[in-house]
C-alpha cells in the first residue's frame, strides 16, 4: 500500500470512528430519571437519578445506599468519596445494573443537593 493511500484511508477510517463515537456517545450522556421510573429496560444505561437518601451503609470496598422518591432504588458507590446522611437530597450519575435480581445504580459521581436539616423533601 502506498504512503498516500495509507494516509487517505487512515483519515477516512478515523472519520468513521468519530462518527461511530458520536453515535454511541448518546449512551454516555446520562438520562434524567426518578427512582420510581426505573425499569429493567434501563439496565446498562447511564442515568442521572435524584432523590432522598433512604438508608446508608459504609462498607469495606463500597458504600451502599438507597435513593428514594415514592419508591427506593439501591445504589452502590465504589469510590466511597462521600458519606451520606439519611434524608439528604442527592443527585447521582451512574449505570443501571441488575444485582441479585434487583435493579441497582452503580454510582460514578454524586452531588449532595441539600442536607437533612435544610431539605424541603
Amino acid at each position: 500500500m502506498s504512503d498516500d493511500l495509507l494516509f487517505l484511508l487512515s483519515l477516512f477510517f478515523s472519520a468513521l470512528g468519530i462518527i461511530a463515537l458520536l453515535y454511541y456517545s448518546t449512551a454516555l450522556e446520562p438520562r434524567e430519571l426518578k427512582p420510581s421510573m426505573l425499569s429493567a429496560e434501563d439496565v446498562g444505561k447511564k442515568i442521572l437519578v435524584s432523590g432522598t437518601v433512604g438508608s446508608f451503609q459504609k462498607g469495606k470496598s463500597a458504600n451502599t445506599f438507597t435513593i428514594c422518591d415514592s419508591t427506593c432504588v439501591s445504589a452502590v458507590d465504589f469510590s466511597q468519596k462521600q458519606a451520606l446522611e439519611r434524608g439528604s437530597f442527592i443527585s447521582a450519575v451512574g449505570t443501571v445494573k441488575e444485582y441479585r435480581g434487583e435493579l441497582e445504580v452503580e454510582v460514578q459521581s454524586l452531588e449532595i443537593i441539600s442536607e437533612p436539616s435544610s431539605s424541603t423533601n
Binding site: 500500500m1 504512503d3 477510517f13 461511530a20 463515537l21 458520536l22 449512551a27 454516555l28
Partner: protein, 383 residues
Amino acid sequence: MALAEFLSGFIAGLAGLVAFVHTNFILQIAAYALPEGFSKPVFASALSFSKLVFELIPSIFFAVPATSMGIALLPSQKLILEGKGILALKTALGAFFQSGVYCVILVMPVIVLLPVANQAIAPVSGFALMALVSLAVFAKQRPIESAFAFGLSGALGIALFSNAIREPLFPLLSGLLGVPALLFALDEGQVPRQEEEEAKPTINKLVFAGTVAGAFSSLLPAMTPAFLIALIFLFFESESPTAVLQASSATLLSKTFFDFVAFYAIGKTRSGAVAFSGQELAFLPQLAAALAAGLAALFLAIALMLLLYRRFAAMKVFANKHAKLALLVFFAIASIAANGPIGLLVLGASASVGIAIALLGVNKSMTMGALLLPSIAYYFHAA
C-alpha cells in the same frame, strides 16, 4: 461531550513521544485532573491507541524501549543501523492499520468465543502458560543456552517484583534491551542517513496471526506482546526484521484493543487503561464508544505520523557516540527519578543480564523471562 474526551485522550497520547512516560502515570494524573462526568473509557482508549502510535518514534529512532512495547520493536534498531529507520516506521504503521481493520472484523466473534474459551482454560491456565513458555524456549536453535538465558532474566524479574519498587518496568526494560543495544553499537560509527523508502507489502498471515494472538491473550496470565510474538514465530519461521515488526505491531495493537473487550466479555482487567475505565466497560454501548474512540485515535495518529515522520528521521539522535552516551545517562537519570537510587541498581543489574544474554548469542526474546517467570511463580504460589 464524547469529542472532548476523545480529543483530550488523543492529545495526552502525545506523551508517547517521551518514551519513559508510562500510560499508567498519565492515567494517575488524569484521575485527578478530569472533570466529573467525563467518560473514562473513551479518554483511556483514545490515549492508549494514540500513545501506541507515537511511541514508535522514540522506540525506532532513539532506541529507547517504550515500556508498553518491550522487545516488540527491537528489529527496528537493526534496520536503523542500515539506514532503514523510515522503512521500520512505515512497516509498523502499515501493520497497525491492517490489524486495526482486522480487530473491527473480529470483535463480535471474539465477544462470543472468549467466555467459552475462558471457561475451558481457566482451571489449567497456569499449566497452559508454562507449556507455552517451554515450547517457546525449547523450540529455539540453542535450547540449553536459551533456557539458561530465560532463567537468568526470570531470576532478575522475581528478585525485582518481590521488592516494593515503584516503577520497575522502565529500568528493567531499558537495562535488558536499551543499554546492551547502545553499548554494542557504541563504536559502530555514524549511523547512515535514513533513506526514504516505501513500506514492504504486509504479510497478511503474520498480521492476522498477531491480531488473533492479541485477541485471545487475555485468557492466560502474563501474555505480553513479546511472548505472543515468540509463539507466532514458532509457527511462521520467517524472521526478517520487517516480518518481526509486522507481527509484533499487529499483536501490540490487537492486545490493546482486546484488553478492553476482555473486560466486557470475561471481566478480566489486563491493562492499566482498562482498570482506569472501571465498571463502565461492562456495558456494551460504553464499550462500543470506547472502541470507536480508540480506533479513531489510532487512524488519526497514523495519518499524523505519515505527515511528520521526516522531521523525526532527520534528528539523528541515535547517530553518534556522544548521542549514545547521552542516552545511557538519560536512562540512569530517568531510573533514579522514577525510583530513587535503587532505580540505578535495577538498571545496572538488568543491563548486566541483558549483556550476558546478548553475549550468549540467543534470541533476545529470552529476556522476557524477567516478566514471564515472576507471573508463573505468582500463579502457582497464589494457587
